[in-house]
Amino acid sequence: MTTNDIMKSRLKYNRPSLRARARPPKNRTPLGEAFSAANMGTSLQLQCCVDCRRFQYPSQEVCQVCLNDNLVWRAAAGEGHIISQTTLYNSLWEFFKRRIKQKPWPIATVSLDEGPIVFAHLDVEEFDKAKILDVSESTQVKVFSHYDCSMRSILIATSKDIFTDTKEARRKIVTRMSLSEPAFRDGGI
């Protein structure tokens, strides 16, 4: 076999769609990694400018207002309202492709009372239970962070009335949303 053939066969068997386990995107910038680290085991930590006393997200090198680099991780309450929400029926990433095959994937942008606008996985089941069928603009939500099965911190938006103060409670929600396990494929490699 020529090198070209070997490369071709490797490519063939190394496609994400053939893998036994697919996980959410792992790639982050160094600032994204810092966000993940700061959020391990806590409810929500966001970058905060010591000079402006202002939260910002996504994490950045300098404060968006004063451009100082006097930024620290501070606990945020995470309360806010939905700006817009949508359901994905298509994804570029194998993990979500497999999840979407089971059920379309709901996400939302949330405006936090603390300032930042965040993307979050939307915990629609809680709204179903609370009989809030029309999760739409201005629905009040609470955003918390948790690690997914790629060990990266992600944000979850759930109903404002749901208890999320303990690690166990948060883990339960993330597990129910099937973010804490890879998406498996029978007979994958």
Partner: protein, 394 residues
């Protein structure tokens, strides 16, 4: 602002559109470059300004391409501004020509589309995207536009039937533009409405198809263009504004609102006198924002406007109000050749105003408006630009 008088645009080229290609971006750029030069009857050595736009050049850039193509420009630029690159290239190059920094500038956009390259590009688009939007469902720009579309529909009561008007009329236009990748297919309202759901309110025919291709044109002084005996058009006015309205929670307008009056005033024209419009149309909602912000209708009324307006290039539709819009089918029907998509509307206008459009020419077109919208970063598009081009001496 100083006018753009004395600058000519010519030799529009659209090259090599294909759904997937094993060629790299340098091939698309190089081949487009060649066609642009030959189209104007010039030689490679005559070019002393070189501007490039591409998402897929990798470690290469406009400067390393000068060595690959063996050119020696005294002015180079690179415009990584997605859908606004064409108009931004036009503005920068026009100034360089007016100031004598370069005599003949080639502006080329080109992008490759290798197997699974779109997935890769979407996953590393920007720092914000990597950290805070791609991990949430990895829908690429579909996700952000689904949220924007959902919000727009709720806010202004726009329906899918309204968005369909844009996709349908553009498909008709594409049926008359040979290079359009989807131009061989017709599109009916039923097909549009029953298409596969992609993200929230977005269905298949609301989304551009990523592809490979190249777009390019030349800029030089009017005197030189006349001397070369080439058909050309001139810039009546052009504007840009970036990261406009940063405090809007979600995008429902772009930077156009801030410069639209100045844009028309400098061009001594108004929306009623524009013969053809090319908006940046990766999704119908964004065309609607541009039609509103550029004064063709009021904010929130684009749905009504498109229901009343025939947007075919030849005005063959049933509606009385006519406005030829995205006259080659736009990206929705031609395909989105990466950042070269930002040159598509400009090149189409250039063809219309130099009588080089073949099957889709707009009768008696004298003034055209092009709008650019680029770089969907995190939750919104950051670049807005617009230009008004006209035939010389009218």
């Amino acid at each position: 602002m100083k006018s753009y008088d004395g600058v000519a645009l010519l030799s529009p080229v659209s090259f090599g559109y294909s759904r997937q290609s094993s060629h790299s971006a340098a091939w698309f750029i190089g081949r487009t470059f060649q066609s642009v030069i030959h189209g104007a009857g010039l030689k490679k050595e005559d070019i002393d300004g070189f501007a490039v736009t591409s998402f897929s050049l990798g470690s290469d850039s406009s400067i390393t391409l000068t060595q690959q193509f063996q050119i020696t420009p005294r002015w180079i630029e690179q415009f990584p501004y997605g859908g606004a690159s064409g108009i931004i290239a036009l503005r920068r190059a026009a100034r360089a020509i007016q100031c004598g920094d370069a005599d003949i500038i080639a502006c080329i956009g080109g992008d490759a589309a290798a197997h699974r390259s779109f997935e890769h590009q979407a996953s590393i688009f920007s720092g914000f995207t990597i950290d805070a939007s791609f991990p949430y469902g990895a829908g690429g720009p579909n996700t952000a536009f689904s949220l924007i579309t959902q919000n727009y529909m709720e806010k202004y009561g726009t329906s899918r039937e309204d968005f369909a008007r844009i996709s349908l009329d553009q498909r008709y236009n594409a049926n008359h533009y040979p290079a359009a990748l989807l131009g061989h297919k017709t599109l009916s309202l039923d097909e549009y409405m029953n298409a596969r759901q992609i993200a929230g309110p977005l269905h298949l025919f609301d989304c551009v198809m990523p592809c490979a291709g190249g777009e390019g044109f030349l800029m030089m002084s009017e005197d030189r263009a006349r001397h070369l005996k080439q058909p050309y058009c001139v810039i009546r006015s052009a504007q840009e504004l970036h990261n406009a309205h940063p405090s809007d929670e979600i995008q429902f307008r772009g930077g156009w609102t801030e410069f639209v009056n100045e844009l028309y005033a400098a061009a001594q024209t108004g929306p009623d006198e524009i013969d053809l419009v090319q908006t940046y149309d990766d999704y119908p909602v964004i065309s609607m924002l541009q039609l509103e912000d550029l004064g063709f209708c009021k904010k929130g009324e684009a749905g009504k406007f498109v229901q009343e307006t025939d947007m075919r290039f030849d005005g063959s539709g049933a509606l009385n109000k006519k406005l030829p819009h995205n006259t080659n089918g736009g990206q929705l029907s031609v395909g989105q050749a990466g950042a070269a998509g930002g040159y598509l509307g400009l090149n189409e206008t250039l063809r219309q105003l130099t009588d080089t459009a073949v099957n889709n020419s707009v009768p008696k077109a004298k003034i055209g408006l092009i709008s650019g919208f680029g770089m969907i970063n995190y939750d919104r598009g950051l670049c807005s630009a617009a230009a008004i081009l006209a035939r010389p001496n009218i």
